[in-house]
Symmetry: C2
Subunit: 396 residues, 2 copies
């Protein structure tokens, strides 16, 4: 079929199978030591608890598979979970979504006029940029440095100069891809900027429940309930294939979210929401989270130790207190996209090049790489980094 | 919180909690004899088969809850199901979605330029109009009469006059809300118009597998694979809460669908897709479908018989060969929205007023009502129609 015959909108005509998709195919080949993707550890999924929950739901709930209204008790569980994150909210402020990605997508659809400007960090989750593409939103990148943090001075200058973005998208904890978290002072100033300049913040907290230190700082939503729109997810703490997330928003947003969700995939209680509710009712979440934190802390420490041993002089990397990622920077001028090809070819080891997290294809992260520590067992992490070290030692 | 403080796009600011939502709350109150909603019969869901499938998936598939690529074997099952509908397609033309609603939403996003015109039937599934709202698409309504069928002359005249809609949305079988199906001649002429005027058709076949007569006519997709974009669903034939549907499209559309789905809710294999795959592998679908058809045929006949007995003179209604709905028309000038209030109040019986299926609030269906026959058991259908008859006899 001739492509020119396809009845596509102009922006959709320009879509191309992405180079990253091709790369992913190589990365996920069997035998590859992969620190590339943001996958949780499948062997830690609470499969038994999920199986029991699924059986209970089917046995006890006659409407388990039917269209039905939102699960009020699941919203109440989420309120309790948010309280453990240091956030006070009501069930009426919680809206259930098909994963965090849908939460962001629905919020962007409600908040963004086509062609309007959005503020992003200059290292940013690529899936959020995908959300913006169909709106052809202008992107205003604020520096988020792996050492010095978020450039709040720069942000304030831009706002002072009159920019009024539809919203800022950020991650306060376990940032993807940097692995860093905002300091308390950064959080306070950021929320003050949001209030002063009436700039809503979409806070993506997909990794916030995975924290590894004694001191845990609450997310931005704990500081402001008017300007912070919180996005949460069960994907990283229970399982991605369940596709359940939530947002915490001002109550008048909820019926609007229901309307756009209705048109997206029907705003109905799903079987997997019921499974999660039953799992939470069984009181197993806290123990499961502790197990995850213990194991991921070990994997993080293994990765950091291996980097210490195998990375060349001149490389630096972050030390995450939350999440799944370490961000490493090679000397300026390095090209991690080219490096990945060599790494796969010579040592069968994979990471994601910094490039993948740049705003609209900028080159400023070309010397960086994202390393995941949640997916591989410690011994495999050790081996992967040793291999990566050999690739780097072989020179560029 | 002051509404003017909410950071909303202009179209989202105009959203209001819908009158239909209020109405639905009354309709779904316990004790109401409801022929209103398009719900499958919960007591016919294959809960046992689903439970066994869920247990098998968790026991046998280590990646069952993880992010993973599309389930090729499920696409192959769908190819086989499509063959039973009389459609030849390849697994490469099948794309899995979060229900039919997402299929329509993703197709509209790929095909529609903002502000462009879309062709609809003048009685139309309200969820499809919701898809169009954010695009502010212009709607061009073509008459679909419950007796004389689709006004193909009118459609041709409009196309001949130069209109070039982004697509036509239609249902060939078990039309929601009319309950009618297109004749073979209508299908052939419609597909010819699509070809001649290069107008894509989104064919919503959510009800097509629920057919009750000996002769089954294949959907439009069987007649053309270039211009017909087919949308299917497991919601009505297995269970809505699983949220799994599919589209059958020209192969070059598939990676584009993957891109927009990725940004919507991540294009990953879901737990419920795996449950369905395991259920299909067990070979139970055909028997389940036969049971559904047998039971729904009985319910349809019960409804038609009860209408014969209880409807006043001057009322007419459709005799569906597929789907879940009968469309009834009272004499012109009747107002079924007002009637619904009285029916709920005096006889606790519910239906959906024709108004709910009008294009952009038009009044041409104000004397009509949609009656569902899938959700209630036969005795309850009898009683509901007897009550409706009393409401109508009491006069308007």
């Amino acid at each position: 079929m001739n492509l020119s015959e396809l009845p596509l909108a102009s922006w959709a005509r320009r879509l191309a199978p992405s180079a990253i998709q091709d790369m992913l195919q190589n990365i996920t080949k069997p035998g590859v030591y992969s620190l590339a993707l943001g996958l949780p550890a499948a062997e830690l999924f609470p499969k038994e608890g999920m199986g029991e929950a699924a059986a209970r739901v089917l046995a006890e709930q006659s409407g388990a598979l039917q269209y039905s209204a939102t699960l009020q008790p699941l919203r109440e569980h989420i309120v309790a979970m948010m309280a453990k994150r240091g956030v006070r909210c009501s069930p009426q402020q919680v809206f259930l979504t098909t994963g965090a990605q849908q939460g962001m997508n629905l919020l962007a659809r409600l908040m963004l006029e086509p062609g309007q400007t959005v503020m992003l960090e200059d290292r940013v989750y690529s899936g959020f940029q995908q959300v913006l593409d169909p709106f052809q939103a202008k992107r205003l990148a604020v520096r988020r440095d792996s050492r010095t943090g978020l450039d709040l001075d720069g942000m304030e200058a831009v706002l002072k100069a009159g920019e009024r973005p539809a919203f800022l998208y950020t991650m306060s904890d376990g940032h993807n891809p940097l692995g860093t978290s905002l300091s308390v002072a950064e959080r306070e100033r950021l929320v003050k900027l949001a209030r002063d300049y009436r700039m809503p913040i979409i806070e993506d907290d997909a990794y916030g429940f995975l924290h590894y230190e004694d001191t845990v700082v609450p997310p931005l939503r704990a500081l402001d309930e008017q300007w912070v729109y919180y996005v949460g997810s069960f994907s990283k703490i229970l399982a991605p294939a369940l596709r359940v997330g939530w947002v915490v928003v001002p109550e008048p947003m909820v019926f609007r979210l229901a309307t756009v969700k209705e048109s997206s995939d029907i705003d109905t209680a799903t079987f997997t929401q019921r499974i999660i509710l039953s799992f939470l009712d069984s009181g197993r979440l806290e123990g499961h989270l502790e197990r995850l934190r213990r194991e991921y802390r070990l994997r993080r420490d293994t990765l950091l130790g291996a980097l210490e041993k195998h990375m060349p002089k001149g490389a630096t990397w972050t030390r995450p207190s939350s999440g799944m990622f370490v961000w490493a920077e090679l000397p300026e001028g390095s090209d991690t996209t080219a490096l990945l090809s060599r790494a796969l070819e010579t040592e069968k080891v994979a990471f994601l090049p910094g490039q993948a997290f740049s705003v609209q294809g900028g080159r400023s992260a070309a010397h960086c790489m994202r390393l995941n520590f949640s997916n591989c067992e410690p011994a495999r992490i050790e081996e992967a980094v040793a291999r990566l070290g050999r690739v780097l030692a072989a020179g560029s």
